[in-house]
């Protein structure tokens, strides 16, 4: 790493629907592991990525219980990224777009995130070394 950076990622996709969510979280994870400060602005369906009520489930079709199914939930990936940031001395400022949260009833997110507005996105971009928008179509 050539020095600590502040990188912003803008997420739009809801969880469980597109590989973009996985790729986005992989990128955030890499940046955090390098000790960079990371801003995330989650809007539209992406406000459900850290939704606290996500729950693992069994798979009756394949005869697997909850443990055997080991169903991944994106909220756990986000939580793991926050924990890794703490270990690496990196700061993750994850903003949930309040308008999008209210529209979707998605206020219950995991701890460590905050509610914000599109003004936070402007501030993120203005204060970052670089930014990547990962849009849906």
């Amino acid at each position: 790493m050539t020095g600590k950076r502040t990188l912003t990622f803008v997420l739009m996709d809801p969880p469980y629907e597109n590989a973009r969510t996985t790729t986005a979280l992989r990128l955030v994870d890499i940046a955090v592991r390098r000790g960079h400060d990371v801003n995330v602005f989650a809007y539209e369906g992406a406000v459900y990525v850290p939704f606290a009520r996500q729950a693992p489930h069994p798979n009756a079709v394949h005869g697997r219980d909850v443990e055997q199914e080991d169903h991944p939930n994106p909220k756990d990936w986000v939580s793991a990224i926050l924990q890794e940031a703490g270990r690496r001395g990196a700061k993750v400022d994850w903003v949930q777009c309040g308008l999008c949260v209210d529209e979707r009833g998605a206020a219950e997110c995991i701890p460590g995130l905050r509610r914000g507005s599109p003004a936070d996105l402007v501030a993120f971009v203005a204060s970052s070394d670089n930014a990547l928008v990962i849009p849906t179509r």
Partner: protein, 108 residues
């Protein structure tokens, strides 16, 4: 000269507008910019040897570095020794490398 990182996540066979993204990359390169074209997710499908390779070869011909996410390749059973000429497998961390160095990053 600016540095550009164009990230292609779509398969041109299912998203015709992927060709426009390739054209953007070519135009940026022709204008004298340094361009990296990074394939990820279903965007790696044309990196297979024999699959529309002429398009990616054309990008490489413009001096564009064409990379394919190694994780996406493994997910789709595409061996790295079966990639089209001009395409190299690379870790996703390349995206962060280029963001660190100030490349202007665009996602499609």
């Amino acid at each position: 000269m600016a540095q550009y990182l164009l990230i292609e996540s779509r398969d041109p066979l299912s998203d015709a507008d992927a060709a426009r993204f390739q054209e953007l990359a070519a135009r940026l390169a022709r204008a004298g910019n340094e361009v990296t074209f990074f394939l990820v997710q279903n965007g790696v499908f044309p990196a297979r040897r024999g699959a529309r390779r002429e398009q990616l070869a054309r990008l490489a011909g413009h001096g564009i570095q064409v990379l394919a996410d190694d994780f996406s390749l493994r997910e789709r059973g595409i061996a790295e020794d079966r990639l089209a000429p001009g395409v190299e497998a690379a870790p996703l961390s390349v995206v962060i490398d280029l963001m660190e160095s100030g490349s202007r990053a665009l996602w499609h």
